[in-house]
């Protein structure tokens, strides 16, 4: 057992994707967790005397056009972004897994109809879907989570359906069926645990896409609302000061890139882990 753990650690360190992914995600998560308890400044506190300052020891990412500390705002904003991504994945992966498992397991007419609709949704760019939902239900982070969550359902449903189809005809499932295992137990106890590897890497890649989508929509101004801005919203506010104070734009942008990169590396690493 100890040897196996040691081998795993060795394998982990040797895999650049897992290693970098963990390091980057660790940094971002550390910043978010620390931000829950302590921030250098109040993220919404304005200070007219310190507008658009550069990087300094006092403000390690400078200040914005209202004199607010960018680092504190980034700490808060990455928390908002991560929360939205988590909500999106819970809805997307949850519904997607259930739909994929049921259509894959039962097949037949349900499969045909549901997959047709899923395909239609899949062809529909998620940004448009989100804009429809936001324009109908108004602007805000709840609407954003719901719309992104729905937009993410098709890809999860497809992946899970494919995996369930692959597992369905294996011998151990046949055996379980002979013993008289119920359908529900079959799906949740016998099939789903066997596809958790695939699911885990698609969830991480989903996180990566969710952060990107959230940033894009918040940039358009349909996501989380000021003064508690997410990273994408900060960028759209900061863009016009790009030439007077580049650090104000670059810092939130780089944090988005790090977040996406961390999730992408972890997803890639888990995919290769075998």
């Amino acid at each position: 057992m100890a040897k196996m753990a040691k081998n795993n650690i060795k394998k982990f360190i040797k895999d650049p994707y897992l290693l970098f992914g963990t390091v980057i995600m660790g940094m971002v998560l550390l910043m978010i967790i620390v931000g829950c308890f302590w921030m250098p400044y109040e993220p919404t506190k304005m200070n007219a005397a310190e507008k658009l300052q550069g990087i300094s020891l006092k403000h390690i990412m400078g200040t914005d056009n209202m004199g607010r500390d960018v680092f504190s705002r980034v700490m808060y904003g990455s928390r908002v972004t991560l929360m939205i991504a988590i909500g999106t994945i819970i809805i997307g992966a949850g519904l997607g897994t259930i739909i994929g498992a049921i259509t894959g397991y039962y097949g037949g007419i349900i499969d045909e109809v549901v997959m047709r609709i899923i395909d239609a949704l899949f062809a529909f760019p998620s940004i448009l879907l989100a804009l429809v939902i936001v324009s109908v239900f108004g602007v805000g982070w709840v609407q954003l989570v719901v719309s992104l969550g729905i937009a993410f359902v098709p890809s999860f449903a497809r992946i899970v359906r494919g995996e369930v189809l692959r597992c369905k005809n294996m011998d151990y499932i046949e055996n379980a069926r002979l013993i008289g295992v119920s359908d529900l137990r079959m799906i949740f106890v016998h099939i789903l645990p066997n596809i958790k590897g695939v699911l885990a890497s698609s969830i991480l890649i989903g996180f990566n896409n969710a952060v990107l989508a959230e940033a894009g929509l918040s940039y358009l101004g349909v996501g989380s609302q000021p003064p508690y801005a997410s990273l994408g919203r900060m960028l759209s506010d900061a863009q016009q000061y790009m030439f007077t104070r580049p650090s104000y734009v670059l810092c939130p942008g780089l944090v988005i890139v790090l977040m996406v990169l961390g999730f992408a590396f972890l997803g890639e690493g888990i995919k290769r882990w075998k």
């Binding site: 760019p125 448009l128 429809v132 990566n208 358009l220 960028l235 942008g253 996406v260 992408a264």
Partner: protein, 314 residues
């Protein structure tokens, strides 16, 4: 022929599902469009008259079909805010957004396919490793942030274009394309990375298969095997991906238009969303959705031409 019909019918199903979703989304809303158009102080008789004139008293399904067929005929309804036909509002903007998407697509194809072949050919070489790392980073940059970076680097430092200095295609076609180069680059960059990664992986997988070895043993050199045998098979999934990417790029240009202040569909769409001007939002979303669905259909057809095996056993 049978395949084309099958794809055509599935395209129509998709179109109906999508249009029904869009229509229902905007029509189950609380609030009366007639009141919204006339203002809250309008008399009940006037509201009733307007409702009758707008056909709002008919059943939902009748209204859906009327809206859908009017849409197919190019009648997109009337804007609540400006009381002018939506078609006129968007007509001059659609070419801009569409050009941007196509431009980005052409850039993606022109850059990613040679790069994909190159990285696969020199697998694990210095070039391959460098590009793989750059790819990972580029994929993590959202298009609007790369747009901001591009504006900063090429617009401000190198002064290759004037940020915000959009030139309309009616004034100066050359200037129009010149200005759109950098925005389309911002849209294309992540897709280029994804395509290179995908093509490289497919090429390496295909090259390890038996038929590639057979081709070698029959005296082909590396280039012969690559271009005559392996590339064709490796391209098939890439084409599906490129089709989806094109659809994504047309939709994704909404964000990048904002970054480069291009007066395309994006600005109208966003102001209409905040004004709750539903006919405009409906028309634009449906328009983009139709373009996307059309592109997917074309991809399926092209797919079949490249790989005739598809659809035979179905």
């Amino acid at each position: 022929m049978k395949y084309t019909l099958k794809k055509l019918s599935s395209m129509i199903v998709t179109l109906v599902v999508v249009s029904l979703c869009v229509f229902l989304a905007f029509n189950v809303l609380p609030g009366d469009p007639a009141v919204r158009m006339l203002g809250l102080e309008a008399s009940p008789e006037l509201v009733e008259q307007t409702r009758e004139r707008m056909g709002l008293n008919d059943p939902l399904l009748v209204r859906y079909f009327r809206w859908f067929f009017a849409f197919l005929h190019g009648d997109f309804g009337t804007s609540y805010t400006y009381s002018v036909p939506v078609a006129g509002m968007v007509a001059s903007k659609i070419p801009i957004t569409f050009t941007l998407g196509i431009y980005a697509f052409i850039l993606t194809v022109l850059v990613s396919i040679p790069l994909g072949i190159l990285t696969a050919k020199y697998e694990n070489g210095l070039l391959d490793r460098t590009i793989t790392v750059i790819n990972q980073v580029i994929m993590a940059i959202p298009p609007f942030f790369s747009g901001i970076l591009i504006t900063f680097v090429f617009g401000m430092i190198f002064r290759l274009f004037t940020p915000g200095g959009f030139v309309s295609y009616t004034d100066n076609l050359k200037g129009f394309f010149r200005y759109l180069f950098f925005p389309s680059l911002a849209i294309a960059l992540p897709k280029i990375s994804m395509t290179v990664k995908m093509l490289r992986g497919n090429l390496i997988d295909e090259a390890a298969k038996d038929y590639a070895r057979t081709a070698y043993s029959r005296g082909n050199n590396t280039n012969g095997v690559l271009y005559r045998h392996v590339l064709k098979n490796a391209m098939i999934p890439v084409i599906t991906f490129l089709g989806m990417a094109l659809a994504d790029m047309v939709a994704g240009s909404i964000v990048v238009e904002q970054v480069f202040s291009i007066p395309g569909i994006s600005r109208i769409l966003l102001t209409s969303i905040s004004n709750r001007d539903y006919p405009v939002v409906e028309a634009i979303i449906m328009g983009i959705a139709m373009i996307v669905i059309g592109i997917n259909f074309l991809v399926d057809i092209i797919y079949r031409i490249i790989d005739p095996r598809i659809g035979i056993d179905e």
